[in-house]
């Protein structure tokens, strides 16, 4: 039997505020343990939370970017459970009047656009971090509360994804939207972006959903995909053997690359939500929504499509550029100074991205700004330097922060476009390589390429390639 995979995703994203959601402690990753804590986030008796306006607005911004209907009267609730990383024994979250409901995220996979519906978006506080000691036989865990109270956005989809590829496209697109709207840094290695997946299988064509399994402990997008792949196989095997998939929560075991049933007590899931009496409701007037909407940037998919329709880039190139807002901004600044987007695109997607990756730089710290890159591109266009030389000059620009014209002059890299000079060089090469000439006469085409290579080597790449081709051909035909 054929089965269809049905996937839903829950995402937690820490918001990029300066301070925590309900107190003035800094929202920072990597500080010494338990130094960013105060009576509020430690849940000491008698303290009261006060909502961080910036954090609330960031959550609202993401809600708008995900096309949600905003609950213009939104409230907070207590989610009650005991766990050592939760100092108050309840988490301030939202359950009844979530910030946003019924939105969607548009994804593009395999050239097809699809809307993944968002069930709700809500704002809550982070828990602390538990540290499990490596010490054998230890009967304790340690807690660092620096993270407790950091603003956390939760985004829950409907089970709308039908393949691993769609799940991957959703995760990437959502990450880009959160980065574009500048509400989260989305650093999975620091835990500021986390996913939980739910997956079920049903016979193809059947309407009714199969029993769903939730997967936790997914520390990277790769882990999400691996776990989903494993679960698909496990559930299919079970169904094909006539079994039933148990509705349960499973943990991804990164080392063994498999999911395992989570041992929990049934009672643990009774969260007894009730309205948070310490936080006043928030009324969001139309004007506030309009102001925030106006601050939303063009979103990644729209930008990608515009790069294709308006700038004539391929969908693939447009996707690479639009993926990172800073890179796309850089590209657009180049294009505003130079009329051929395709040429700029080649430079950015090949040379700029390669140097960024190799040097582990962010584009904001990249020494070659858009204006400097365009200056170099123009040197190629006017024929002042050849393309291979320009590529080398670019790397030197990154190394030295010097401008292209200065480097070209310092190193004597101006392209040789003087026919008399080139003819002299060609003659010299032919004299040095009589065998190549003979080979060429015998019809061996590679001899031509070999000779061009020798000429380029002799001129250190400075010879004008088109002219070399033409002049060499003439010379060979004539001799």
């Amino acid at each position: 039997m054929q089965y269809e995979t049905v996937i839903g995703l829950e995402t937690h994203a820490e918001l990029l505020t300066e301070t925590k959601l309900f107190c003035g402690c800094l929202n920072r990753f990597g500080a010494p343990p338990n130094t960013l804590v105060c009576p509020v986030c430690l849940g000491l008796p008698g303290v009261l939370p006060v909502m961080n306006k910036k954090g609330f607005e960031m959550a609202l911004k993401a809600t708008l970017a995900l096309h949600c209907r905003v609950n213009q009267f939104t409230t907070f609730d207590r989610k009650n459970y005991y766990y050592p990383d939760l100092p108050k024994n309840y988490q301030i979250s939202q359950n009844y009047l979530n910030l946003g409901v019924d939105g969607y995220l548009e994804i593009k996979y395999d050239g097809q656009e699809k809307r993944i519906r968002v069930h709700n978006v809500h704002l809550e506080e982070e828990a602390g971090k538990l540290i499990h000691t490596e010490e054998p036989g230890a009967d304790y865990s340690l807690v660092d509360f620096n993270r407790a109270g950091v603003p956390l956005l939760e985004i829950v989809t409907y089970p709308d994804m039908r393949s691993l590829e769609e799940a991957e496209a959703y995760m990437n697109t959502l990450r880009n939207v959160l980065l574009y709207t500048e509400v989260s840094d989305c650093k999975m290695q620091e835990g500021s972006l986390r996913f939980e997946a739910s997956i079920s299988l049903r016979p193809t064509g059947q309407e009714k959903l199969g029993n769903r399994v939730e997967i936790k402990n997914l520390n990277s997008m790769k882990a999400v995909l691996k776990a989903l792949e494993y679960e698909t196989g496990r559930q299919r095997e079970s169904l094909e053997g006539g079994g039933v998939v148990a509705m349960e929560t499973r943990l991804w075991d990164e080392l063994r690359e498999r999911t395992e049933r989570m041992r929990t007590k049934e009672e643990a899931h009774d969260y007894r939500y009730f309205p948070e009496p310490d936080l006043a409701p928030v009324v969001i007037k139309d004007q506030w929504l309009e102001e925030l909407s106006a601050t939303l940037p063009e979103l990644p998919l729209a930008r990608r499509n515009r790069f294709v329709t308006e700038l004539g880039l391929s969908d693939y190139d447009a996707g690479v550029l639009a993926e990172d807002k800073a890179v796309a901004d850089y590209f657009e600044r180049c294009v505003s100074h130079y009329e051929s987007p395709k040429v700029v695109c080649n430079w950015v997607t090949n040379d700029v991205l390669r140097e960024l990756k190799e040097r582990r730089l962010e584009i904001k710290d990249f020494p070659v700004g858009p204006e400097m890159l365009v200056e170099l591109i123009k040197l190629v266009e006017t024929g002042a330097v050849s393309m291979p030389v320009a590529r080398g000059v670019f790397v030197e620009m990154v190394d030295t922060k010097k401008k292209a014209p200065q480097l070209v002059q310092e190193r004597g890299l101006l392209q040789i476009s003087d026919s008399a000079e080139l003819e002299g060089i060609i003659q010299a090469i032919l004299t040095e390589n009589p065998n190549a000439l003979t080979d060429y006469k015998k019809g061996k085409k590679t001899a031509f390429t070999f000779l061009v290579g020798q000429i380029m080597r002799k001129t250190k790449g400075k010879a004008n390639p088109q002219m070399v081709n033409e002049l060499l051909k003439q010379k060979l035909e004539a001799s």
Binding site: E18, V37, Y140
Partner: protein
Amino acid sequence: MAILDKKTIEHVALLARLELSEEEKELFASQLGNILNYIEKLKELDTSRVEPMAYATATKNVFREDTPGPSLKLEEALKNAPDKLQDFFKVLKVIE
């Protein structure tokens, strides 16, 4: 009539992390039952056209600016901890 059975009492006690003796379970079942019965009286009111109350007063939109305030010193933060180790709060091992 809300009648609380033993199972419900045990469930509520577990959620509240309370250890109850058999006598206490019986006692609380009847006492909590009475309280619930009393509250049940409210159900006689027709609230179908009343919005659920979200907050006790008419206060709304209380915010603070995103500016740092003081945090506790590590020693202060750990001062009241029942148990600690180095710079951490120490708790019973958590097994999932």
